[in-house]
Amino acid sequence: MKNLKLAALKGHKRSVVRVGDVEIGNGFTMIAGPCSVESEEQTIMIAEQVKAAGADILRGGAFKPRTSPYSFQGLGLEGLKILEKASLATGLPVITEVIDPRDVSWVCEYADILQIGARNMQNFSLLKEVGRVNKPVMLKRGMYSTLAEWLNCVEYILHEGNMQVIPCERGIRTFETYTRNTLDLSAVPALKELTHLPVMVDPSHGTGKASLIEAMSLAAVASGADGLMVEVHHNPAEALSDKEQALTPQEFNSLITKVRHLYDYIHNDSILAGKNEVPEEK
């Protein structure tokens, strides 16, 4: 960790990453949306639903790094155009994954935040490329990566001059197969000790099971995360990717209410100090 000249917390104020009116690292940020951009209709519908529920940022994949070359690979440029339309329609900023260094400048033309997925965490040419642009980058933790390896990848981006980086915990591979990954929430307070950057959590990939997402979201709030990224689909059974881990808009609505309450409870000093004045019931 001695090599972290720019990412280390030491002597640094905590960083806030600004995207439009949203401040990641100041308050709790909710990112939600479909795993993949499937069509204009689907994306705008889900964007409006998550916006109504209170999401701050819309997610949606246009370029999909899939395990199998025969799986849906995303709509590509067409998907980016749809995301831009959904952003204009709802006013939500947009985050989307970039997997090809040649696409970085083009994704910047359409999206507000670039995401580097877990599989590309140590794709150093891609890291250097996103380090040279003027857009925030969310760097997901690789599924076999230690915190030190992860933070060194963060350092790559910072070193190129882009200081707007948001590490995101999304689960690691363990011997457990019941869940898709094992969400390592200890990484959140650990990262908070090590770096000044805001830290997000992705419980959708972290568990791979819709039924576990709410509990792990609340746990992420308690762990000190600055925000969550969750996958929402209007009809999960028909989603073109990651259908098992997508929440319905109703489930997301209930999740966001609990998350915001818990966050307020933890961060309201007067409540925790027992000084909360509850109005007397008469």
Binding site: L77, D100, R102, D103, S105, W106, C108, E109, Y110
Partner: protein, 351 residues
């Protein structure tokens, strides 16, 4: 040759035939303006005779005759309608054509190689109107056009303010990641400078924005794109890669529409042109007249004249049917030389 390549070539030829068909119809309409009721039937009969005797080529003479009979019939059908034509400079899809649709979408836009041709054809009665850009909020006055206005006897029939939005377009199936060069008019390339730098694209100047889109569709240069209007992408069947790529959102071009006859419209804006004697304070005297009449000036421009003097263009809010405006203009006339009321018209905007 691969199957896909062959398919693309066939597509290209079909689009070319379609485009030539449209060009032929345009010429038929221009023909009518010059020849009145003579719809060219004699020449067409002669042509049909010739192709019915042709003894080379794959398509049979019967089919060729059939095809051209339909073409001529369509020309006659269009000629029988009372279409109004509006000439513009550039290829189809030019921003002038976009502006002409803002002014009156019922007119038939006809492309011209330069501004002179537009003015000449309006004066000759081939076009009912001509539309030309006079100034741009970023690039300033288009001096070539303003020179032509000084010499013209045409009237201003209308004006349009258009917020110009540039699109990056490429042939269908082009991978955006493989683009290296971008063709367009130098002004459009300059207006999208930051976008081109961000995406590491090399700008290549071309004579016209829409012309670059047309060239792309006809010659298909490798790894290339064009910057032109949304309309141009539609016309030349190009895919839009990114809309609104201009560096500054506020990019307004003002167009004037000219006609041969003085238009009978209730306008709210007037354009005049004049020059003044080479004496101190002559322009001031003219402006003073407007100030006293409380008429709001919206534009004043001086253009060097061939005789070593200056022509002044002046626009103001008001109608030439208003008595106060008439009196003001009489007074202005007394202070100037070569005074001319270019027109009183309504200005339309698409911002």
């Amino acid at each position: 040759m691969k199957k896909k390549e062959l398919g693309l070539q066939l597509d290209k030829i079909d689009y070319q035939i379609l485009k030539l068909l449209d060009e032929r119809m345009e010429l038929a309409l221009k023909w009518k303006k010059l020849n009145g009721d003579n719809n060219g039937e004699n020449e067409q009969t002669k042509f049909l005779d010739q192709i019915s005797n042709r003894n080379y080529g794959l398509a049979s003479p019967q089919v060729c005759t059939q095809v051209f009979r339909s073409v001529f019939a369509e020309s006659h059908r269009l000629q029988s309608k009372d279409f109004k034509l509006i000439g513009f400079q550039g290829a189809h899809g030019a921003y002038s054509e976009v502006a002409s649709k803002v002014w009156n979408s019922g007119l038939i836009p006809i492309p011209n190689k330069d501004f002179t041709e537009v003015f000449e054809n309006v004066a000759a009665g081939i076009y009912d109107y001509g539309i030309v850009p006079v100034e741009n909020s970023l690039g300033g006055v288009i001096s070539q056009v303003n020179q032509l206005i000084i010499g013209t006897e045409l009237y201003v029939a209308g004006a349009v303010e258009l917020n110009v939005h540039h699109c990056l377009m490429a042939l269908p199936g082009t991978d955006h990641r493989e683009l290296r060069t971008v063709y367009s008019h130098t002004q459009a390339l300059e207006q999208c400078h930051h976008f081109l730098v961000r995406n590491k694209l090399e700008p290549l100047p071309f004579y016209d924005t829409a012309g670059s889109a047309k060239m792309l569709s006809e010659q298909a240069p490798k790894a290339s794109a064009a910057i032109a209007s949304h309309l141009a992408a539609d016309i030349y069947h190009l895919d839009i890669i990114k809309e609104n790529i201009e560096d500054f959102e506020h990019n307004i071009t003002r167009f004037l529409i000219f006609s041969k006859e003085k238009p009978e419209v209730d306008g709210n804006k007037c354009s005049i042109i004049f020059s003044t004697a080479h004496k101190a304070g002559t322009l001031f005297k003219v402006l003073e007249v407007f100030a006293r009449s409380k008429l709001n000036l919206t534009r004043i421009e001086s253009i060097p004249n061939q005789q070593g003097s200056f022509a002044f263009f002046l626009d103001f809010m008001g109608s030439d049917k208003d008595e106060k405006v008439r009196q003001t203009l009489d007074e202005v006339r007394a202070h100037t030389r070569g005074f001319r009321l270019l027109g009183c018209y309504e200005e339309k905007k698409q911002l």
